[in-house]
């Protein structure tokens, strides 16, 4: 931030919060802008996934038998475990925001690390699911090579399964990177009741990642 106008921070520090950027008048204005920015970004995320959800819905409507047969290859237990893991991570994220708002540094670090651990667990479970599918040839599109299918066209389901859970997985990884960055900043003591916008907006993002999974789980694992 300070590359172009190195004097701005110095001026801001005299009587202002250290994290107030030069073009904002006060912290509350900067905080509101950050929140608006994140909400707008979340809208774009919803629309990005929305395209895939619509495509899934249309293909499901056209090939209901294939989707029905294909979804039996998924492991409902692993899916359910991952759902619980992500829900818990959302809860610990809420506690992180609370800890930042109330200037509890140690608790903030603890809750962020717990969130990170849940996200890691999710990815590990996902890794086992994916390797199992790879092993059985349950792959998207032209790479589908599963033997003994009675219903044709099951590759379509796995096209969407891998595209949607894959895109979601990328979002989990990006979220983990953001949370790791928050841990680093929290350890340096940046966050307090006066400045916690990064924790708050990362939390918003994390809830959306969680919410998308809440929709993906029944769509993929629980078709009936």
């Amino acid at each position: 931030m300070s590359t172009a106008i190195p004097s701005a921070h110095a001026h801001a520090e005299g009587g202002h919060a250290p994290f107030l950027q030069h073009h904002f008048r006060e912290m509350s204005q900067q905080f509101d802008a950050a929140k608006i920015g994140m909400w707008l970004f979340l809208v774009t995320e919803v629309l990005l996934f929305g395209g895939l959800f619509v495509g899934y819905g249309i293909m499901h409507a056209r090939h209901p038998e294939a989707f029905m047969a294909a979804h039996h290859h998924l492991d409902k237990t692993m899916g359910a475990v991952n759902t619980v893991v992500l829900l818990v991570s959302s809860f610990t994220m809420v506690l992180s925001v609370w800890a930042a708002q109330t200037s509890r540094k140690k608790l903030l670090v603890l809750f962020l690390l717990l969130t990170l651990a849940c996200a890691g667990t999710f990815m590990v479970v996902k890794y086992f699911e994916y390797s199992h599918k790879f092993h059985e040839g349950l792959l998207p599109g032209k790479y589908y090579s599963h033997k003994g299918d009675t219903v044709p066209g099951q590759f379509l389901f796995f096209s969407f399964y891998f595209m949607m859970t894959g895109l979601h997985g990328i979002h989990v990884l990006l979220g983990m990177a953001a949370i790791a960055w928050l841990v680093w900043r929290a350890l340096k003591g940046h966050f307090s009741s006066a400045y916690y916008a990064p924790v708050e907006v990362t939390g918003l993002y994390w809830h959306l990642v969680d919410l998308i999974w809440i929709y993906l789980f029944p769509l993929m694992y629980l078709i009936s």
Binding site: H23, L47, F155, L156
Partner: protein, 550 residues
Amino acid sequence: MSEGVLYAGAGHAGRHADYLEEPKGLWSWLTTVDHKRIGLMYMWSVLFFFLVGGIFALLIRLELLTPKQTIMDAETYNRVFTLHGAIMTFLVIIPAIPAALGNFALPLLLGAKDVAFPRLNLTSLYVYWIGAAMAVATLALGGVDTGWTFYTPYSTTTGGGVTLMVLAAFVLGFSSIFTGVNFIATIHKLRAPGMGWFEMPLFCWGMYATALIQILATPVLGITLLLIVMERVLGVGIFDPQLGGDPVLFQHFFWFYSHPAVYIMILPAMAVISEVIPTFSKKTIFGYKAIAFSSVAIALLGFLVWAHHMFVAGISLFAGAIFSFLTFFIAIPSAIKVFNWIATMWRGSISLEAPMLFAISFLLIFTIGGLTGLFLAALSTDVHLHDTYFVVSHFHYVMAGSNLIAFLAGIHYWWPKMYGRMYNTKLAAISSAIIFIGFNMTFLPQFVLGSRGMPRRYFNYLPQFQDLHVASTVGSWVLAAGLFLTAAYLLASFRQPKGAPANPWGGRTLEWETASPPTAHNFEGQPVLQHGPYDYRPEPAPVGVKELAH
């Protein structure tokens, strides 16, 4: 709320160097977070690609000079018009006004020091450069021959660099989204004290409506383009009928973005015109709220008309009728704007400076483009005109002509503010006339060609079409001559001393209340709004009629 409290030290003693001078060096530009510098870098990048896309356009017109092969074979022709369309759409028209002029002017018009997220702003420029490099790199892979619309199933089966080009458009979408997020947050939170929503200059309303579309539509294009990549790489089956998919679904997805994207191209143009016309008419804008709300109405209605691109793609007659009706409906807010601009000029004190000449060109060209859109919105005529030169001409009037000429109006309007220098105003007036004549010479004949059945994207044609094609090609040379003249006198202005006054046009918006060019912080302290953006009433006197009479 005195200045000292708002910005401790922002107005300290001694004059600041302007934003162009300090800090110095290429590195300081590449790492800047100053919205003005980012805007200028966007502007020069866009102008560079405009030159590239323009050269492709001249090659297309040259090929069409004769009914048979003229300078290139059919395969090359397909690649040239695809690159022309893709470069002009994704690298020129979409970023031209929002990312270049918007970045430069929006914070100034709002009385802010910068956009809400300056680093995100710089990121968007780098993302744009990466996307542009990817688009150009497709040439090394043998080019792309799908047309800029990437229709399936052709785009999922043809060779060449389609995957890379599609990914380039995906990457460029992020640049557009970042700009949109930035502008909405900036308009919400960084207006000067005293500036309510209806005291904002109309440029800001136009940018707000544009940003709404950028945020709501671009992600859908993003995922659609990724699906094409997936179809090409993995054969996922969604758009391939042999695998159980549906190629028309691609058209729905594509136009759900790309029709609103047409308004990403026209709303910023309208935004510029809404600033230029009152300034050079010295009169309060007529129907402020009507213009502001019609921008938002266009942005929202724009999401409900996508299927009018698909009237002959096999959608039901009922769906066609609904989309036809909605398309007619969107003409209303566009017409409201045109009437309001004309009413603003009515009995104003009009000075025909270069920006105003471009604005008047815009009014004429946009009116032609808009009215011919109604022919295409009507189902029965569209069946005949679909995929003919009538469509080509229509969208060049609205996308190319209107957007480009408003971009030029904006460049001429804010050039003294950007660089503190004036250009040769006589040459500017002449070039605005050449550009207007050249544009109409190029595209008016194409309406006639289309109505007589000349199909778009054809490499050869029947001999009876040749006269009109020759007229169009000669027109493209006139247009190019006008644009090169503009480039020449704008570049020549750098040899002038920095002598432009702070307010060369007598405008009333905030950017004219700071130096030309401004300092890095835009204003000395925090400006507080004293009067409306278009308040041309002579001081304390009430609104009178007599002083305007000749």
